[in-house]
Point group: C2
Chain length 587, copies 2
């Protein structure tokens, strides 16, 4: 037997007992006559004592042990004279009587401490050592707990977890699929699911009523920062349900997991429409932990011979409270350059400072009188010491640019630290017109239903009508991150066919790819809808972390590689032959 | 709102309430003045009444509705005059006041009944309709419940669920991998995991102590009956643990899920060694719901001038109780032919009948006197009316043949119906010598540890020693099915390297494929071991079903195809080009 207790378990009440412990040598300290070893396992740390006077050979053996050695000891639980109040086992120590080295250890390539000296790359290569560090372990324990509480809530609400297949069919819509060549079906491929969307809809057609699954999904995208080729979703679907019921159910789920896992009681989630979100924040996923909402200066600024504003479709700004005195001309210049980078692409930045002495200063002071500028400040509700920042241009672009500026100012002013501000963004457009490809894209996905009042118009309307269609689609946003998104689905064959047509599918393509779903709609499909949460992202937001990688046991890097196991990798020619595949010669 | 209640919810106490229900038209019966409709959802069936006198247009509308139409109704809960005690809602019916058709339905291609008229193929093509049938739904609800109880037990025992990656690295050892071409890493492939074996071992090296995962695994095998290319495992690993502790933990899990999901209290599981299982049953996964154990007649039968037995390495038999009078010469002949099919390959069958009148009859009566045959019957403990069935040949082959005969006789005698007989089979050989390839194969897998007392011999012994090595490997067997299997693992680099060498790996191959694991063993790897259960199989055994397909929402057929979505399928040339792949021309 390797242990009678774990390393986090012994207390003052067990003094006098002989125990067996196993674990890792976390730290050793030699004081000449005594050596102390911190023995570590998942559950905690227990101090071991080796006394030279009592047993000199054991003492000598202990002195030679290195960090991360795996030890098994037998010893006597004793009260510590110097108690350590910082750890639960701090009242006791073990006077060691027997010592066995279960395994040795080379010196780890980085320190196994909360704050390690290892860089990202080396920690990923030795991920099994990185996973020994307490903060990393705690992240995975948190993830496990979040999964438990998610399942608990949903099962209590009569949801059934159903496993949907991983080897499915490739569909060109959406992101790029990972594909899997089939040996038994020559020249054919499976695809890995980007989501179980069609399967969960079929489960509704089957009458499962409330479905969920914690499920791996896959996207072969060029990996932007903090994307993973495989990721986990909380995938859900309900039938005979309205958008209102779905929002309430999953607001309930979110509140439950925050309470159960973080002891945070979330308030009711505000709901704003997509249009309102863009108008107030320039984003469909606003960080509402702080205000600094957009103010529309278009009317106020026009007709004063400032050609830039006069020519602009829209002039909008934000009021940065108390920032007037913090920004020198040089600071403003820097901020302007930051906004002019190609990633943001603003043309310029206009400021109006309401100085603490009551004077007004602006980069457009020669076009606007103080009186006129005062009307801007009034509209913004600005106080002494505040600063207005204005951008102008085409509506979509200027909103997106001002969104970036708002978030940046939020960061600089410390308004985006801690706290949780969830909200629902609703009434998304159904379709998005893409000028480049001259076709519509589905704003959510091709199965999303237009709002009841838009269904008829969708079947009969013109191009402009299609652009204006609104969907029963909704996103859950927390602190500026889209945590979940879903919609009420089309459950009518004709409407689904029309949607595919709008999205540029020929009838043959729609039939080949989604014929099974449209057929299913002809055999008594019920109204249904659902939502999916990004589970990795939810973990990271809840723990205030910046990267989802911290919550994945064995993540891939930005090239989609697992550097620990060195995957992907070449495969044998015989494997390729069995799959009837040739590699193209490399140019 | 689609419903105030579901279709399984209303009772006599709700009489007088106005309710809204939605569901599927399960059945309608018209009696001239009244039409009754059974409205069905996941939760049950509620009877709707349309009265011609009260509302003739509603009555006419209801008459036109077809099976599987999706309806929403508003009506008054009323007490039934003819109560139906067979359904929970049988005391009430709904006098319908408003009717809305949410969706129509074509006539389904088979009946949505417990016993359907649909063949396997059509039901798979319309799986979403097959899934409406109650027995199929119940199977998936059972699966969901089994998953819940599995997680509950393991979480209560401090196991943490960790998700391991799906996109990993191909390793030629074991079954064939499904591979996934990497677009970003040209010419390279991921593989889908056959199990998370190496990852769970690394989690032990990381100190997670107790890991589990309900996880999809993948094998590209030629599909024998009732295999699926993707299947689900309960995958577990523990560290600082002995085989005894693992067996107890997972015997506990098994007992828990049988009690919680079936209300069956399993007795303690017997344990027998691999050698004993082969000696007594000719199989390492014996169905122990019945006896009919092997009897060794080798010594008794030799030296009586029956050349077949005299030449045989082994003569063994079983005693089929009470079967003497049931088997005519013709029946014996048929049974012999059955045994001689190539799948079994027995040379012949010898019987000895202990007739109910006390006389003895045998196919080898001319070689053996009644007195001699009586010694066989005595050894078998046969009674009047019993029949001995004997086979002979080489040990391995004859045991395997007699195993088939024993199971067949068990079937014929009704000894294999119902009940659950779990047992542990332990002490498997570490290695299996394959004559054809003249190399060793891992009996369990290449990470399995030899028993403590065999470790030294493994590093230094000769070929014969290797054949005799025993492993700390164990299988959980129920009713003749291997439900789970596992082992204590090697955690020492030298021993692991030796094992790879024995299995025919060059040092370079071992390093390329499993270098990360062997490296991990050098940084303080703890002793560890684990087990994996076939989750689909466990479902089917617990429910007494014959096929795992019944417990998979969207299974594949024996050609690995999903006939509903028609996958796998060809992919676009652009997809192939992006992956730098060419299809080989078809010959």
């Amino acid at each position: 037997m390797y242990r009678t207790h774990n390393c986090g378990e012994l207390r003052i009440g067990q003094v006098g007992q002989t125990v067996t412990l196993s674990g890792w040598l976390n730290k050793n300290r030699d004081y000449g006559a005594m050596t102390f070893i911190d023995l570590r396992d998942r559950y905690g740390i227990t101090q071991l004592v080796f006394n030279k006077q009592t047993d000199s050979s054991l003492y000598e053996a202990a002195k030679k042990l290195g960090r991360e050695y795996v030890l098994k000891i037998v010893g006597l639980v004793s009260e510590r004279s110097n108690k350590n109040p910082n750890i639960p086992t701090g009242a006791i120590e073990i006077i060691v009587q027997k010592l066995a080295i279960l395994n040795g250890s080379k010196t780890p390539p980085f320190t196994i401490e909360d704050e390690t000296d290892g860089g990202d790359e080396i920690r990923m290569k030795y991920r099994y050592l990185d996973l020994r560090r307490k903060p990393v372990q705690e992240n995975l324990f948190f993830r496990s707990k979040l999964a438990i509480e998610t399942r608990k809530y949903l099962a209590d609400q009569d949801f059934i977890e159903v496993e949907t297949p991983v080897l499915i069919k490739s569909t060109p819509e959406g992101a790029r699929d990972f594909v899997v060549p089939s040996r038994m079906n020559e020249g054919q491929f499976y695809a890995l699911p980007q989501s179980p969307q069609t399967f969960k809809q079929l489960l509704m057609v089957s009458g499962f009523d409330k479905y969920f699954q914690l499920v791996k999904c896959f996207r072969d995208e060029d990996l932007r920062a903090d994307r993973q080729p495989e990721f986990t979703q909380i995938d859900c679907e309900m039938c005979f349900v309205t958008q209102e019921q779905i929002l309430n159910t999953f607001e309930g789920l979110t509140k439950h997991v925050f309470k159960a896992c973080l002891d945070v009681k979330l308030p009711d989630f505000p709901r704003i429409t997509y249009d309102e979100a863009l108008r107030r924040y320039g984003s469909d996923k606003p960080d509402t932990r702080f205000g600094m909402e957009f103010i529309d200066f278009t009317v106020l600024t026009k007709g004063h011979d400032f050609p830039v504003f006069d020519a602009a479709e829209m002039v909008i700004g934000i009021c940065a409270e108390g920032q007037a005195d913090n920004y020198s001309n040089k600071d403003i210049k820097k901020l302007t350059s930051w906004l002019q980078r190609p990633q943001i692409g603003a043309k310029g930045l206009v400021y109006v400072k309401y100085n603490s002495d009551g004077s007004i200063k602006s980069s457009v002071g020669k076009f606007y009188s103080d009186e006129q500028l005062q009307t801007w400040l009034d509209k913004a509700g600005a106080k002494n010491g505040d600063m207005l920042l204005l951008l102008c241009g085409e509506t979509d672009k200027v909103r997106s640019q001002l969104n970036e500026l708002r978030l940046e100012m939020g960061n600089r002013m410390g308004l985006r630290e801690g706290g949780f501000n969830p909200l629902w963004v609703v009434d998304f457009p159904l379709l998005e017109w893409d000028e480049d490809s001259a076709r519509f894209h589905a704003m959510h996905h091709p199965f999303t239903s237009p709002k009841e009042e838009d269904k008829e118009r969708m079947l009969t309307g013109d191009h402009a009508t299609m652009k204006a269609l609104r969907a029963d689609a909704y996103d859950l946003v927390i602190n500026g991150w889209e945590i979940g998104g879903g919609s009420i689905r089309i459950f009518d064959r004709e409407l689904q066919a029309k949607n595919f047509k709008l999205l540029g599918f020929t009838d043959e393509e729609a039939e080949a790819q989604f014929g099974f779903l449209m057929n299913a709609f002809e055999y008594g499909a019920p109204p249904h809808g659902g939502i999916a949460f990004g589970f990795d992202r939810l973990c990271s937001i809840m723990k205030g972390a910046s990267s989802i990688r911290d919550f994945i046991a064995f993540p891939k890097n930005n090239q989609g590689r697992d550097v620990m196991i060195d995957a992907p990798s070449p495969i044998d020619k015989t494997q390729l032959d069995e799959l009837q595949l040739d590699l193209k010669p490399i140019d």
